[in-house]
């Protein structure tokens, strides 16, 4: 490396340093604090006592019996973990079913219609999440739009209980996160070379085969990106399960918030947060492995 290159390298690092500092302080800092807290003891009125303890991590999945002090599964936590994963997977599948055709449809509209559709898809983002969630509540509550309509038509006599159920949470999250699926799918369809579809059509592929053999593999990057964008916030969702699931149908996000509030167990909150983080990373690796199989074969 000559003198000029060395100087250029120095300059490059100097110019990059604000970004690096920001990343280290902004991203790693809070994470390090959470990791540290998870290995401490809880204070009586919240906060932490600076004494090393593995209790928080044990409490994530196990609990001590109040009477005989034996350890058993923390059923309450496990139910919440299961519900979180189940609802996030359901939400991802529902947004896929609706988002892929929708993204395809928008990307193939001519001129102005494409822009209008995109605008309509992004419009909900301009509204507060809480407001949107209450709008969903207005639809599905016992005296809400859907129940009133069904009663009016005479299809049902008594209202259907939809609020405060897992259905309500999945319904709300699907509504809230649908744009996060539509936009990446739209982007990958927009990049799609439609001459390839013509070529497939020419080579005796019918509509169904065109979709599975040509369109789907080519828009897979968009589908993967969309699934990740929907699954991750679903798993950590707080507002939607809080409003639509009520006090009984908690998800991990609500459980964590409880530990920092009424639970007064910050180390457990920290350990739960990290558990969520680990779960997301594992799920992502698995998902990309499975769905991206063709891609990795291609590069092999």
């Amino acid at each position: 490396m000559n003198y000029l290159q060395r100087e250029q390298n120095k300059q490059r690092w100097f110019l990059l340093s604000p970004a690096f500092l920001f990343l280290i302080i902004g991203a790693s800092g809070p994470l390090l604090i959470v990791i540290a807290y998870s290995f401490l003891k809880p204070g009586d009125y919240g906060g932490v006592i600076w004494e090393f303890s593995l209790n928080a991590w044990i409490e994530v999945i196990l609990q001590e019996d109040i009477f005989d002090e034996t350890l058993g599964w923390a059923d309450a936590h496990l139910v919440i973990f299961w519900r979180s994963i189940k609802l996030s997977v359901i939400t991802t599948i529902l947004t896929l079913i609706m988002g892929v055709p929708l993204g395809y449809f928008i990307a193939t509209r001519p001129g102005i219609w494409k822009e209008v559709s995109l605008f309509l898809i992004t419009l909900p983002f301009w509204t507060n999440l809480l407001v949107r969630t209450f709008a969903v509540q207005e639809l599905i509550r016992n005296q809400g739009v859907i129940n009133s309509f069904l009663k009016w038509t005479g299809l049902i006599e008594n209202h259907i209980q939809m609020m405060f159920t897992d259905f309500a949470i999945a319904f709300g999250m699907t509504y809230v996160y649908l744009p996060l699926m539509v936009l990446p799918v739209y982007a990958s369809v927009a990049r799609l070379d439609f001459r390839l579809i013509e070529a497939g059509y020419d080579l005796y592929a019918n509509r169904a085969k065109l979709f599975y053999k040509i369109i789907l593999p080519l828009i897979k990057p968009g589908i993967i990106a969309g699934s990740i964008l929907v699954f991750i916030p679903s798993l950590g969702a707080y507002v939607t399960p809080r409003v639509l699931g009520g006090g009984t149908n908690l998800m991990i996000g609500n459980l964590i918030s409880l530990q920092y509030g009424q639970g007064r167990n910050w180390p457990l909150g920290a350990a739960l947060s990290l558990t969520l983080l680990i779960a997301v990373v594992i799920a992502l690796i698995y998902y990309v492995r499975v769905v991206g199989e063709g891609e990795s074969k291609k590069n092999a």
Binding site: D193, R195, L196, E198, A199, G200, Y201, D202, L203, Y204, A205, N206, K209, K213, I214, P217, L218, G294, K298
Partner: protein, 381 residues
């Protein structure tokens, strides 16, 4: 042409596209018959409707009017995947998520052939296009020429009745293009499949085709063998689009019924006699078409039917081009081109700029057409 000799037949085909500048007639009442096992070329400038005709045969476009049959069966209402016709696309349109073999086997797979059948056919086709070594490659690991071969192989693998080629060589460099021209002709001979080839390159059309259809503004102007198209162009547009051509306005004199010859008067006032049948169909403005390489220059001005002043000599390597200015009685003299093949002895130096030269040519090399109805075509070209 008997019915079972015909591969693709189109009758009264019309297609209008709506565009921002108003409706565009892509095909205007086109009648076409393509023989079996023929290398047929649709030749014309961009926007002449040749690609539209190809896409109608493939099934990607639906004609506004007219009918189309394949070996006697009407196919107008069949979608592309129901027609035994395959296309080699201009940009190849290879599937990027599949290997070379998977691309080539795709058509057979869609036809529901079993695996062993597919792999043996793919192997055979790979050998045919000399790509055996690259069977497992991904598409983005191939050069342009290799992609071209894969596109050909993919379209040939299902053994279509007709292969459509949409300017497949236009993206290749000159040397590769020449190679592929020969390769295409060989493939057509070996497979016996009817090839319909679209190009705007007149040389490609002449070197490969059994027959050529010259198109312009949605119409077919002339169909014939390359020799017919080159030696006996039916219009000034065809003559000008294919190769270089001199146009000399003449007037027709008296006809001798006995000898079946007619006198024509050249711009110089000199006259020549040509067989009367050559003047058939010429009514308004007779124009002589004369290819530059069919003319010999000489110094015997008095004996030549045409003479003029040699204005410019351009050396081309294989031949030399002479620009000769001929007086035609108007203020703007006619510039005629003459081409002469070069020899090592430097015969191109035989004549000098500024010299007056005479033209020598065989009467057989003359083509006389009616210039009146075609003048607008020439100016548009």
């Amino acid at each position: 042409m008997s019915q079972d000799e015909i591969s693709v037949s189109g009758q009264n085909l019309s297609k209008v596209f709506r565009s921002a500048g108003g409706p565009v007639k892509a095909l205007d009442d086109v009648f076409i018959q393509i023989r079996r096992n023929e290398f047929f070329t649709l030749l014309g400038p961009s926007g002449c409707g040749k690609t539209t005709l190809l896409r109608i045969i493939a099934g990607f476009e639906y004609p506004d009017a007219g009918d189309i049959t394949l070996e006697g069966h009407p196919i107008k209402d069949d979608p592309p995947h129901k027609r035994p016709v395959n296309t080699v696309f201009q940009n190849y349109a290879l599937f990027p998520h599949m290997t070379v073999s998977q691309n080539i086997g795709f058509g057979l797979e869609m036809l529901g052939r079993d695996k062993s059948d597919i792999s043996s056919t793919v192997a055979k086709i790979l050998a045919l296009v000399k790509m055996e070594d690259l069977a497992g490659r991904q598409i983005d690991q191939l050069s342009g020429g290799q992609q071209q071969r894969v596109a050909l192989a993919r379209a040939l693998a299902p053994s279509p009745r007709v292969l459509l080629l949409d300017e497949p060589l236009s993206a290749l460099d000159l040397k590769l293009r020449k190679e592929m021209q020969i390769e295409l002709k060989r493939l057509q001979n070996e497979t016996g499949i009817t090839f319909i080839f679209v190009t705007h390159d007149q040389e490609e059309a002449l070197t490969m085709s059994d027959r050529v259809a010259v198109m312009k503004d949605g119409k077919i102007l002339q169909v014939g063998t390359p020799e017919e198209i080159y030696d006996r162009p039916a219009s000034m547009f065809v003559a000008n689009f294919i190769g270089e051509c001199n146009f000399i306005p003449v007037s027709v004199g008296t006809t001798s019924e006995l000898r079946q010859k007619t006198a024509i008067f050249l711009p110089s006032g000199k006259s020549a006699e040509i067989p009367s049948e050559r003047l058939k169909g010429v009514i308004g403005n007779p124009v002589i078409l004369l290819r530059p390489e069919r003319v010999q220059l000489n110094a015997k001005i008095d004996e030549s039917p045409i003479s003029g002043v040699l204005k410019q000599i351009v050396y081309f390597g294989t031949d030399t081009q002479y620009h000769v200015e001929v007086e035609n009685g108007t203020s703007s003299p006619l510039t005629l081109l003459v081409r002469k093949q070069n020899t090592a002895s430097g015969s191109f130096k035989e004549f000098k700029e500024g010299q007056t030269v005479g033209f020598d040519f065989e009467l057989d090399d003359l083509q006389i057409i009616d210039g009146q109805q075609h003048t607008h075509e020439l100016s548009a070209a």
